[in-house]
Symmetry: C2
Subunit: 190 residues, 2 copies
């Protein structure tokens, strides 16, 4: 059942608060209204369009600075970073990321986003991947936007390694998950 305007606008505000990278198309789908309606809702609620929301998040000064690699070596755009704790990045899937035959994103790009985020979150000059266990849970298509969230789950294992869990989403759907076991030159400070 479609909601009335007031209910919809309240839910819209909550949805964008929870998942700031959701597109107008996805919102229209979710609330079963036209994209035009979503745009009007956003105008009335003074919620900027997606591109502005992303710029805003990206311009927030990162709490920490990447140590383990040059920031331009990260695959995707870093949105948030707390060294040895958590990190978020965004990758827009473009033509060069998909199989030409079916427009499905190639696994190694999702892997590269997640793996470079797992490297970036480590608070150490040297961080290298030892092992990884990964799962592709839903196909990602051209023009979708993948948000990867990394979390340091074990500060230090018996071998002085750090385990980083990365979950990647399109909207609310999990598309990739991985557990990365990282070498580092100095043990975590937690």
């Amino acid at each position: 059942m479609r909601k009335n305007k007031k209910e919809r606008q309240q839910l819209l505000q909550e949805t964008i608060g929870d998942t700031p990278f959701i597109t107008d198309e996805e919102l229209a789908d979710k609330f079963q209204v036209s994209i035009q309606t979503i745009r009007l809702d956003r105008l009335e609620l003074s919620i900027p369009e997606l591109r502005e929301r992303i710029k805003h998040v990206a311009e927030k000064k990162l709490d920490d600075e990447v140590k383990s690699l040059h920031i331009e070596e990260i695959i995707g755009e870093i949105i948030d970073l707390q060294l040895d704790e958590s990190a978020i990045s965004m990758l827009e899937i473009k033509k060069e990321h998909v199989f030409s035959r079916n427009q499905i994103a190639r696994g190694h790009h999702l892997f590269a986003q997640a793996n470079s985020l797992a490297v970036a979150v480590i608070n150490d000059e040297l961080a290298l991947t030892a092992t990884a266990s990964i799962r592709f849970t839903r196909q990602v298509m051209e023009n979708e936007r993948v948000i990867a969230k990394a979390k340091v789950v074990m500060g230090e294992s018996e071998k002085g390694r750090t385990t980083v869990e990365v979950n990647s989403y399109v909207g609310n759907e999990l598309v990739f998950s991985g557990e990365f076991d990282m070498y580092r030159s100095n043990p975590a400070q937690r």
Copy 2:
């Protein structure tokens, strides 16, 4: 102990037979002689230089043809391919593949080589990676040459998936190993 010339030339011939992509530098190291000596040995034995050996292998008509993706979408050069059985590819690690800080190859390039080979070996129009378990066993440096060998280990699992094992080597050293569980649209014919 260094071997005499006859012994060395015999071993050299065997070594190149077993590992055709070994460089003159690696051979010189192995036999504790100069590169010049290796070159003279090759001349006497009429063994072409590495570049020629690679070209020769690459020009051999592949027994099978890649089905699951366009051949130019494979990361690395396909050296051999037997659909639903095995495949071999080679990737030269260049400047764009390494961390600028330490010239160590970035994990996602080794992953991309192995993963695209696991896709290529599948005898099906559609092949997608479901899960993977991977291990980086030795750092790979700029200018090294990585040979990935894929082997189909289980033609079909309970879910209609195919398991592909990929081991990647620099010379005789294992640098990467991975087990890829692949979705496919048609079950394997073995």
